[in-house]
Amino acid sequence: MYEIVMPQLSDSMDEGKLIAWKVDTGDRVKSGDVIAEVESDKAIMEVQSFQDGVVEALLAKEGDTLRVGSVIAKIATQNEEAPKEALQEEKKESREVVHRAPKKESHKAPDTKASNTQEGYHSSPKARMKAQEYGVDIERLAQNTQEEIVHAKDVDMYALERYFTPKARKLLDSYNLKSTLFKLDHKIDEQEVRRYVKEHQLLLIKTLDPMQKALISNVTLSAQKPVFHIYESLDAALIQKHQNRTVTLWIIKAVAKVMMQHEAFRSKIVQERVQIVPYASISLAVSDKKALYMPVLHQAEKMSADTIGSTLQNFKNHLQKRSFRAQDLEGATFGISNLGMLGIERFDAMINRDESAILAVGALKNGKIALTLTADHRLVNGYEAALFMQDLKKELQSPLNFKE
C-alpha cells in the first residue's frame, strides 16, 4: 500500500485545500502522474504519485481542507491490487475514515513520497495471525481503527464489519456464533447465517429479563392456587349500543361497582389473615407480543367513564414505553383480562398475584359476551361467586351503568 499525503508546500503551510482530483478510484497510475491539485496558503500545486499502481481510495472530497500529513489517497501497488469487488466496497468504507493527525516528522519534512510501510502502529502477534486467517490487510485496518496497537479484537471487529451485513452480525450475536465458521471471502448476509443455523439445528437461547422472571414466578404461584370457574354469558345489547366506549371500559365500570357490594372480591390473604380493602382496585391485563403487564386502576369505583378511559390510554402509553412503575402494578384485589377483541370466544384466565379472582372477557358474538370468572376458593366460595356474577350481569344490562 502506498499512501499519498497532503504535502507541505511552504514553511508556513499547516493545511491545504484539495482543489481537484485528477484521477478516480480504480484508475491505473504511473510514477510521476499527477493525482490531484492542492492549494497552499500561497499557490496551487500538483501532487504526484511516486509509484505505479491502482488508485484504491480517494479519502477527501474536492474542496476539503486537510491538515498537512494526512492521507488523501491510497494507491495499491502492483502485487497487492485488490479485486474489483473489494475495491468498490472499500471505496464506500474509506469515505468514513477519520483522518489521523499528521505525524510530527511530516510537519518538519514535507514528504509527498509517503513511505510505503505504514508507521506509527503496532499489532499483536495474534492480531496478525487472525488478519492472515481472515484475509484482512492489517495496515488498512490500522488506519481505520484509531488504536495505537491493533489487537485480535480489532481484527475480529473489522472482519465482522467487512464480511457480515449488520443483520447477519446481529444473528451471529444472538446465536453466539464465531465469524470463522463462515468462509470469509464474500459479504455474508442474514440468509446465509440463517441457513447455517438451520443446517446445524442450533437453538436460540434467550436469557430471561427480570420482568419475565417475575411473570414466571407469578404464574407459577397462581397455578398452585385452589381455584374454580364460573362460566356465564352476558346479554350485550347495551354494550353494543354504547360503542363510543370500549367493552373493557364498561366492564371495568360495572365490576368496580359490584365489587363494592361483595367484600370477598376486595379481600386478600396476608400472613394467614384476610385483609379487606375498602376500595375496588382492579388490575387489567395489557400486553403486546413481548410483554404482559397487569396495571391497576386504583379505586375504580370512584372513576367516571372518562377517567377510566384516560387511565386505559395511559396504560397503552406505558406499555409501549415499558414504563410501568412497581406501584402501577400493585394493590388490586380483582383482575380483568379481555381477549374478546382478538376474537377469542371464551377462555379462563389465571389469577394475578394475591388477588381474589379474575374475569375473562370473550368476544361479542350474536349479541352475547362470554364471561368466565376464576376465583380463589380460599377467599370466595361458589355461592358468593354466583351472586357476584348475577349482580355483574344485572349491572351490565342496566342503563345506569352506561351513564357518562
Binding site: 499483536s124 502477534p125 495474534k126 496478525r128 495471525m129 488504536e147 496497537i149 489487537h151 485480535a152 479484537k153
Partner: protein, 325 residues
C-alpha cells in the same frame, strides 16, 4: 486444617506405615520444628527417626544423601532458604547427580524441605528465594506449595518417590487454612487452576498466588474481564500443557513472582510463551517480580521491593488498559 498441619499429617501418616522414613534438621525433634511442621513426631517415632542436627546445613543434606543411598527415605528440613545455600554442594553435586553418575544404580529417595521468601522484616539474609537456582539443576524435582490440599498430597508423593525432591514452602503460609481431600490423590506435577477465567492468564506460585487472588476483584472490575489464575505447583518439571491451554484461551499472560526480577524463575515461563505461543499472544507478556535489591529490613522498603496485592492490581490494570483487554 492449617498448611503446617497438612505437612505434619503427611509426614506422620507415612512414618507410621514405613520405618525407613526419617526426618532430620535443626530443631525438628524436641522443639517440633521452627514452624511446627514436625510437631509431635519425636514423641511417636523416637530420636532415631526424628533427628535434631547441629547447625550445619551441609551435613544435614550430606547425611540425608548417605541415608538415601543406604536405603532410608530421609526428609531433611532446612530452616530457611538462605541457609540452604550452605548445603548447595550436597544438593547440586550429590543429591541431583548421583543417580545419573552411577548409571542409575543409586537411587536417592529423599526430600529437602525449606521455607523461603519474604516474611516480615527478616532482612536480606533470610528473605530470598532460590527456585531459580534449583530449577536449573537437572536431576532435581522442585515443588512449590501454596495450597493446603497440595501440601498434604505433594509431600506424600515426594517422600514415596524414589527421586530426589526439593520441596519449597513459604514462611507466611504455615498458618494458612484450607481443606484437605484425603480421598482424592493428586498429581503433584499438574498446575492448579485456582480460578477459571477467559481473558487473562495469571501464573504464579507460593505466596504470590494468594496476593494475586486478593488483587483479582479490582482487576476484574476495572478491566471488566475475567482472569484465570494458575498456581504452578511443580516448578520443575513445568506443566506446560495446562499453561498452553489457558494462554490459548485467553491470549494474554501475566507472570507474578516474589523473587528478584533479573534471572528470576518467571523468565522461564515468559520466554517459553514467547517461543511456543507467540502467535497466540494478543499482548506482550507482563512479568511482575521483586526489585533487584537485597531485601531491606525496613517494612516500607520491604513491601516496596516485592509485588503486593495493591501493586499487582495496579500493574495489571495499567497493562490491561494498554493492551485493550
Amino acid at each position: 486444617m492449617l498448611y503446617r498441619e497438612a505437612l505434619n499429617r503427611a509426614l506422620d501418616e507415612l512414618m507410621q506405615k514405613d520405618e525407613s522414613i526419617v526426618t532430620l534438621g535443626e530443631d525438628v525433634a524436641l522443639y517440633g520444628g521452627s514452624f511446627r511442621v514436625t510437631e509431635g513426631l519425636v514423641e511417636k517415632y523416637g530420636e532415631q527417626r526424628v533427628i535434631d542436627t547441629p547447625i550445619a546445613e551441609l551435613s544435614i543434606v550430606g547425611n540425608a544423601v548417605g541415608m538415601a543411598i543406604g536405603g532410608l527415605r530421609p526428609v531433611a528440613e532446612i530452616m530457611t532458604g538462605n541457609f540452604a545455600l550452605l548445603a548447595f554442594d550436597q544438593i547440586i553435586n550429590h543429591m541431583a547427580k548421583l543417580h545419573y553418575m552411577s548409571n542409575g544404580k543409586i537411587h536417592l529417595p529423599m526430600v529437602v524441605r525449606f521455607p523461603q521468601g519474604v516474611s516480615r522484616q527478616l532482612a536480606a539474609q533470610h528473605s530470598e528465594s532460590y527456585e531459580q537456582m534449583l530449577c536449573s539443576v537437572p536431576g532435581l524435582k522442585v515443588l512449590s506449595v501454596n495450597d493446603v490440599n497440595y501440601a498434604y498430597h505433594a509431600l506424600k508423593h515426594a517422600i514415596l518417590s524414589d527421586d530426589p525432591y526439593i520441596f519449597i514452602e513459604h514462611e507466611l503460609l504455615y498458618n494458612k487454612k484450607g481443606e484437605v481431600n484425603f480421598e482424592q490423590e493428586l498429581d503433584p506435577f499438574k498446575a492448579r487452576i485456582v480460578k477459571e477465567g477467559s481473558d487473562i492468564t495469571i501464573v504464579s506460585y507460593l505466596k504470590m498466588v494468594d496476593d494475586v487472588m486478593e488483587a483479582l476483584p479490582s482487576i476484574e472490575k476495572e478491566l471488566a474481564c475475567s482472569c484465570e489464575v494458575i498456581d504452578l505447583c511443580s516448578l520443575n518439571p513445568i506443566d506446560y500443557e495446562r499453561l498452553k491451554a489457558s494462554i490459548k484461551k485467553t491470549s494474554r499472560l501475566v507472570m507474578v513472582e516474589e523473587d528478584h526480577k533479573t534471572g528470576g524463575y518467571g523468565a522461564q515461563i515468559v520466554s517459553w510463551a514467547a517461543e511456543e505461543l507467540f502467535y497466540e499472544l494478543d499482548a506482550p507478556p507482563l512479568r511482575l517480580a521483586g526489585a533487584d535489591v537485597p531485601l531491606a529490613y525496613n517494612r516500607a522498603l520491604e513491601l516496596a521491593s516485592i509485588p503486593t496485592p495493591q501493586s499487582i492490581a495496579e500493574d495489571i490494570i495499567a497493562w490491561g488498559v494498554k493492551s485493550n483487554v
